[in-house]
Symmetry: C2
Subunit: 97 residues, 2 copies
Amino acid sequence: MILMTARYFIKDGARDQVLADLIEMKQEMIRSEPGCVSYQVWESQEHPNQFLLCEVYIDEPAADAHRRTPHFERIIAGRVVPQLEKREREFFNLLVE
Amino acid sequence: MILMTARYFIKDGARDQVLADLIEMKQEMIRSEPGCVSYQVWESQEHPNQFLLCEVYIDEPAADAHRRTPHFERIIAGRVVPQLEKREREFFNLLVE
């Protein structure tokens, strides 16, 4: 299994809209991405405008396919990214489940 | 729910021992920490000597209690921490499950 973390640094005032967009994204993924094992959004206790997305995929192809979906283009690339100062992505392999 | 992430920067040559210690830690937690929802260990694809622990707890008290358990003292504080260059912990609140 593959974990992709994405840390979002959200522009001031955009937190609630980004959250709404990610809730919509989650619904789309449940419908059309069987390769996604879990998709969670967490908010840093120390940094209120920072979200940590933890996305687990069954394998590398499923993680790659995620970023080529229409809903990724429409919601993440189209609506969320313009509301971010920046984002940091990292990939991990599972050792202990 | 609370997510605690711990990024471990492992000393050269200590990776396999740290992994063995964390597998033992996981067994102890399954036996005695009902407040722990999940405990996963991931290895960074970009940085081989870096592990990311993702620990989900039902609430803050369960996360606090974890660090006062005998097995945390014995395994993490006693055996793992001396094998690390450093570690970074962060806490998050759940927004989207």
